[in-house]
Point group: C2
Chain length 353, copies 2
Amino acid sequence: MAGIKDVARKAGVSITTASRVLNHVDYPVAAATRRRVEVAARDLRYSPSALARALVTRRSGIIGVLVGDMVDPYFAEIARGVEDAARRAGYLVIVCNTDRDPAVERRYVETLSDYRVDALIFVGGERVGASERRKLKQVLAVAIKRGMLAVACAGEHAGLPAIDIDHAAAAHQMVEHLLSLGHRRIGFIGGTADVSTAGQRKAGFRAAMLAAGLEPTLTVNGDFTYAGGFEAARRLLASDGPTAIFAANDEMALGAVDAARMAGLRVPEDLSVVGFGNTSVALRARPALTTVSMPRHELGVAAMDAILAALESRVNPVEPASRRVSSPSTLWCARRRRHSRPEKRRVSLDVHN
Amino acid sequence: MAGIKDVARKAGVSITTASRVLNHVDYPVAAATRRRVEVAARDLRYSPSALARALVTRRSGIIGVLVGDMVDPYFAEIARGVEDAARRAGYLVIVCNTDRDPAVERRYVETLSDYRVDALIFVGGERVGASERRKLKQVLAVAIKRGMLAVACAGEHAGLPAIDIDHAAAAHQMVEHLLSLGHRRIGFIGGTADVSTAGQRKAGFRAAMLAAGLEPTLTVNGDFTYAGGFEAARRLLASDGPTAIFAANDEMALGAVDAARMAGLRVPEDLSVVGFGNTSVALRARPALTTVSMPRHELGVAAMDAILAALESRVNPVEPASRRVSSPSTLWCARRRRHSRPEKRRVSLDVHN
DNA sequence: TTGTAAGCGTTATCAT
DNA sequence: ATGATAACGCTTACAA
């Protein structure tokens, strides 16, 4: 394996000079010398040891991404965004599947720490309450104190600064959309209490209803599953017939659609059902679901960009300096009638601290 | 950041001794000394530099996985299998999205090579014909000569040994299944010619038909898309009505189903349609599609296991020694009639060279 | 413009 | 059972 030493020898220069030609594009080196080194490197198929380089520069050029499960498109799309942004900047991405297990997360954080990854990105909200969380936070705190960067993306995680859409604002928008369609009796199917984003969505729903002078009383909690949505909708429809149901995620919305049909209602003629997340399953449903679009790919890109910015300026992203990023969330509206165009509204994307 | 030096000092021993305690579990070290080192390491939160270690041991503990697009569940499931197996063995996985672009692949191979990853796993078949392929092969050849391991998984790639199901055998099985159902006029919708596995599937179809004394004349080529399957099926149905259609992938099979319905045929009563790949879209279709099950997760695991075995014995997986692995492919049969159980048949999984 | 030499944090080879 | 010390391949003051 040809090293820089070989290149230097073949070019008849010192290792230092070779290094300068190979790395610092701007460093003053005689044109002839530069040429010789470049030729030598090519001839020898010089492959710089990123390991050795990382050891001395204290920059590995590797980013660790922790996802629940990369097979889940939700995580995959975000991870892909991270990877795209990473590649553009010359970084590599290590993907870790944690299955949301805090113990696994902790072990990964330790290992990635050993590899001196430049940053950690936790994708998706954490499941709160687990006692293992404490250990994870500790390990993470140590890693961060040692200079490692870490952010959460699309969900809260270990109290890290988070790159996320504003779930409350997005939910707010969706309610306004329903209101503009003439709906007044709007039901809400929330998620489980242990997921922070679920609470934010519900808060947005309530705020929008109250702002319109309506009581947000028709709310039931689901568990993010199709079955949970089905059951929750059944309850909502039994009690006091809403004309629209807003589910905190698409899966539950789909369950609600079927529950409505089971109850003899036509969707969307008799009942409007909207979701959150614009997952592929929602788009393929018939009729397609109106849903809050989460720009997952862009969120991944934004997370990586935040890391990049911090890496370059050596500013910890925890600092207020880098709180805002640009990508918007949109409302993805299924065509309710022929010829109507999908509607889009902007919702700001923030870095929460 | 506490290094081994700090641990050694705090424990009052030499770096060598500290290293021995920390790594070689079996090396003879006085119990008391061992204890002191362990305590020191814990107190200092010693984080061994995997980089430094990799530099000297020439083993990075990192595996590079190249996929077309990690958002595609096809790739994601295989990559997840790789990651699962890697984690068990203490390896980390760098995931690279190539979008099947040979130029991107080449750059990734170079970069991963610089990072001295222990092995490369190319997931999914390559698109042949591109001129960039030559360069890729060259770069790869150099990397391999330098000791890097490389295999292909679920498709051929750069002539590398491949961990894959036997596509021809699987297709053969599927045809036999259709024959056992009484079908004689069986149509086949192939994939594009530039994908090697497509050719293998068609070969399996032909062989099975001929073995049954039937002429495999009803074959049309598609392009792996829903639309392609639709059009191909239209042609098949127009010419000479088959009672069953076997598509080289699920997407095309779905297109065929709709084409049949458009032609006034009931599926599966009037026409049986089967696919290949048991992708989620096939399983969610109504009625669910009978399809050849590709054990994607297991393929990923098998690929990683092959790498692991070679890594431990320092045997290049190209050698005939490690050609066979165990996981089987199965035929996933949708329930055609009530109460009938999904049927499973085994198809061997081989490492092709 | 170029070179010398001191690390970066480990492991590994000899000694003792 | 334990310890110097030389690599590993590179970057980077500091000189010249």
